[in-house]
């Protein structure tokens, strides 16, 4: 007793007198280095293709360098402005100096385009004035106002001042259907432009619905897989995994063939006489199409974790519960179901997270009512009307939403309990 208390106070020493912990640490150093060397390539790869792009995207969604970069003196001068009236002479002087530099460096066009995005038509005001400004001399204020009446527009100056900040929430406001109004206050966008919030909610509830359908379909299948003899179970498992062997595009196209108005199912229903020729069902290019096709594609992700968990539950548990007097349903609910929760939760989070960011299937079969937020993110990244920063903001919101879901899930179920297969 006495000796053990003594050793617990003083550090135990190795044979050469160094503390045992230190000796252990040293003896395992080579081991640790080797372990790190093994994971280093993957760590490096992930850093380059995963962490860095995501951080860049988040940065891009708030980074707003144009006004500050192309009109630096104006941006500085505007800090003093009270916003009550047309800015005083120093601001115009700074603007003139910026314009001269801008013309020289051929950057004035970019500044004009940036302002034009906030106030349509402002580009011509800026460009026209910029071409003249070289010949002017102080005082500039009157000459600016004479050259174009828009320079008297307070809104233009408010926007210039607001957008001269290096970081801006503008794109996040847009992403949730808000904007700065003419007074510089945050206000909802006109109703016809409000698309993103609705789409976020639609994406969320459709993903939840798809997850639930997957649960309902996968649970009995997995149970059957887990309880059949291995030979039959393997065959069934191949059938479940078959979708993985064909391209996503092919599978989605197959659904188009089946579900379209001149498609297999409609033709069959008309032929049998269930529906009339004019009453053909619309099952694709809408929500139904998205839900059907995505459920099919995501089902294996639910089956696999469920199956792997169910396989480890001995049939004797259910038998024991029954022998103790529990009705088969109660035995299932109190004994079998709780043991499948780790697999069920893993399947749910897998399917939900995959669904919420799904792009290709909604794009192909979703029509207007069945597209997801990722389709609009993609839209904002392509073509002439590309708004990469808005796309970045939307994607960041999606990422945060997924992280929140994951966090809540962790609180409810515990990620360390999940079994993915």
């Amino acid at each position: 007793m006495a000796s053990s208390r003594k050793t617990s106070r003083a550090p135990i020493l190795a044979a050469d007198g160094t503390p045992l912990k230190q000796a252990l640490h040293r003896s395992q150093r080579a081991e640790r280095r080797r372990a790190f060397a093994l994971v280093a390539p993957l760590l490096f790869f992930l850093l380059i293709v995963f962490v860095v792009p995501i951080l860049a995207m988040i940065w891009r969604s708030v980074y707003n360098p144009e006004i500050r970069g192309y009109l630096p003196q104006t941006a500085a001068a505007l800090q003093e402005w009270d916003g009550e009236d047309v800015p005083p002479e120093p601001v115009f002087q700074a603007m003139a100096a910026d314009m001269i530099v801008g013309i020289e460096n051929r950057t004035i066009g970019r500044a004009a385009a940036r302002i034009n995005r906030e106030i349509p038509g402002a580009r011509s005001t800026v460009m026209r004035t910029a071409r003249k400004v070289d010949g002017w001399s102080a005082p500039y204020r009157e000459k600016f106002l004479d050259a174009d009446g828009d320079w008297a527009n307070l809104e233009l100056w408010h926007i210039l001042k607001r957008e001269s900040r290096l970081l801006t929430p503008t794109y996040y406001l847009l992403a949730v259907d808000y904007e700065y109004n003419s007074k510089g206050e945050i206000a909802p966008r006109p109703e016809i432009y409000q698309v993103y919030t609705g789409l976020f909610f639609r994406t969320a509830w459709m993903s939840i619905l798809i997850t639930l359908i997957c649960v309902v379909l996968a649970y009995p299948i997995s149970y059957m897989l887990a309880t059949q003899p291995t030979r039959i179970a393997n065959l069934l498992l191949i059938l479940v995994l078959l979708p993985f062997w064909t391209s996503l595009l092919v599978r989605t196209s197959a659904w188009i063939v089946l579900l379209q108005q001149q498609g297999v199912i409609n033709e069959l229903l008309v032929a049998v006489g269930v529906i009339g020729d004019d009453g053909r069902l619309r099952m694709i290019y809408n929500r139904t199409g998205t839900i059907v096709a995505m459920t099919h594609i995501l089902l294996p992700f639910m089956v696999l974790p469920l199956y792997s968990v169910m396989k480890t539950i001995p049939p004797s548990y259910l038998r024991a519960a029954k022998s103790l007097g529990a009705h088969p349903f109660r035995a299932w609910w109190r004994v079998y179901f709780p043991l499948t929760v780790p697999g069920l939760a893993a399947g749910c989070i897998l399917v939900f997270i995959l669904a919420i960011g799904y792009y290709i299937t909604p794009a192909l079969v979703g029509g207007d009512s069945g597209i997801f937020i990722s389709n609009l993110i993609a839209q904002n990244m392509q073509g002439s009307s590309a708004q990469l920063k808005l796309a970045a903001a939307l994607a960041t919101i999606l990422l945060v939403a997924v992280l929140i879901v994951y966090w809540v899930f962790n609180k409810l179920v515990g990620v360390d309990r999940l079994k993915f297969g």
Binding site: S316, Y317, R319, A320, A321, S323, G325
Partner: protein, 386 residues
């Protein structure tokens, strides 16, 4: 089976009060011409007739695949009988689902619910029977006390935090906590080490005696069967080979399978020349003639003689044995309390003689030729076996 048993009854009291209406003269379990087939081609259980009396401890013993576990599963209700009827307390139960049979069962790997604590595991059968919380706690405590697990803070632990022996006790307590009249045990001690297994054998035996429950116990371990049972049913090939008390099974095996399966046995092969008053004269392979009790082989038939190793005498006194045969010592093994001498007798080189290690007992050497003998009653002429 939901009958409430008198609350005041103390654990350890031997007589179990029964509901007034229960007919006490009915056997606990009755198999009537039960057959079982899984594939429709072969019978796993062939025409089984068996009667388990109230309060009896019966063991089904046999090699794997002999049908013993199948019989147990049919009583529990997890396997339907292909033909025939099983009665529980006089009632046919073929169409009664398992959860309505009210039979306690201990599974091979305990089948304790891993997500529930020990107390919750034990309360499970009480919960489904609608006992209120206070009553559940009382019964759970009593059941845990019964298996010496009432103290030590086991209530809140999960099964995985217990040792194998402790899990075994909990499984036993769970099968008994709702006070069933019949308890089935499917090789419950198979996963324990030898010492713990022997200890638990006695505990189960004592629980059976103090509670007065009827038990059907399945095992492939013959020493376990002999230690614990009132009667043992030896299974082979879907048929009960012999149903008897452990003593009778060992002393008076009725066929060569039982003689081989239970205990250590010396086998001599021969042919019956004649039977007189139940005594057979048997001609052994090497031409010697011995006498044996005729059990299930007739005149002119080939026979296996069964003699237990401890009933054989070396260089016997003529008054003890009826005749002697020649044997050649092959090997002498010293085992402390006794000495095993392996010798060749009538072409059988695995003939073993056990002798008590007494002072002054003569030690033989390999290669020595000796006379061995036994009493006629200890030598049983059984079927040839093949």
């Amino acid at each position: 089976m939901n009958e409430l048993v008198d609350e005041e009854r103390k654990v350890g009291q031997s007589s179990r009060p029964r509901p007034e209406s229960a007919p006490s003269d009915q056997p606990m379990v009755l198999f009537e011409e039960v057959q079982k087939s899984y594939d429709g081609e072969t019978l796993v259980v062939k025409n089984l007739n068996l009667r388990l009396e109230r309060g009896e401890f019966m063991t089904m013993l046999g090699p794997s695949g002999s049908g013993k576990t199948t019989c147990l599963m049919m009583v529990a209700g997890f396997e339907p009988a292909t033909h025939g009827e099983i009665y529980l307390d006089g009632q046919p139960i073929n169409s009664v689902p398992p959860h309505k049979r009210g039979i306690g069962m201990v599974f091979q790997n305990y089948a304790l619910f891993p997500h529930l604590t020990i107390a919750e595991n034990l309360a499970f059968p009480l919960e489904v029977r609608g006992f209120d919380k206070a009553e559940r706690e009382k019964k759970v405590q009593r059941a845990l006390d019964m298996v010496q697990m009432g103290e030590g803070g086991f209530h809140g632990r999960r099964p995985a935090q217990l040792s194998g022996g402790q899990q075994q006790r909990v499984a036993l307590a769970r099968a008994l906590v709702f006070e069933p009249e019949l308890v089935l045990m499917d090789e419950p001690l198979g996963a324990l080490d030898k010492q713990l297994r022997e200890h638990m054998q006695f505990e189960i035996k004592h629980l059976h005696e103090s509670l007065g429950v009827s038990v059907i116990y399945v095992t492939h371990d013959q020493s376990e069967a002999l230690t614990m049972s009132d009667r043992v049913a030896v299974f082979n090939d879907g048929v009960i080979q012999q149903l008897a008390s452990p003593e009778e099974l060992y002393e008076k095996p009725e066929n060569s399978f039982v003689a081989q399966f239970i205990g250590e046995n010396n086998t001599l092969v021969g042919k019956i020349r004649s039977i007189n008053d139940g005594i057979a004269r048997v001609l052994l392979n090497d031409g010697e003639e011995v006498m044996a009790l005729a059990i299930n082989a007739g005149p002119g038939e080939r026979t296996q003689l069964s003699i237990r190793p401890e009933r054989v005498e070396i260089d016997p006194d003529e008054s003890v044995t009826d005749h002697t045969v020649t044997g050649r010592v092959e090997e002498v093994i010293y085992l402390g309390d006794h000495i095993r001498t392996r010798m060749t007798v009538a072409d059988n080189s695995a003939f073993v003689v056990k002798t008590r290690n007494r002072l002054g007992a003569r030690r033989f050497k390999a290669g020595e030729s000796v006379r061995v003998g036994w009493a006629t009653e200890d030598c049983r002429a059984l079927d040839h076996g093949d």
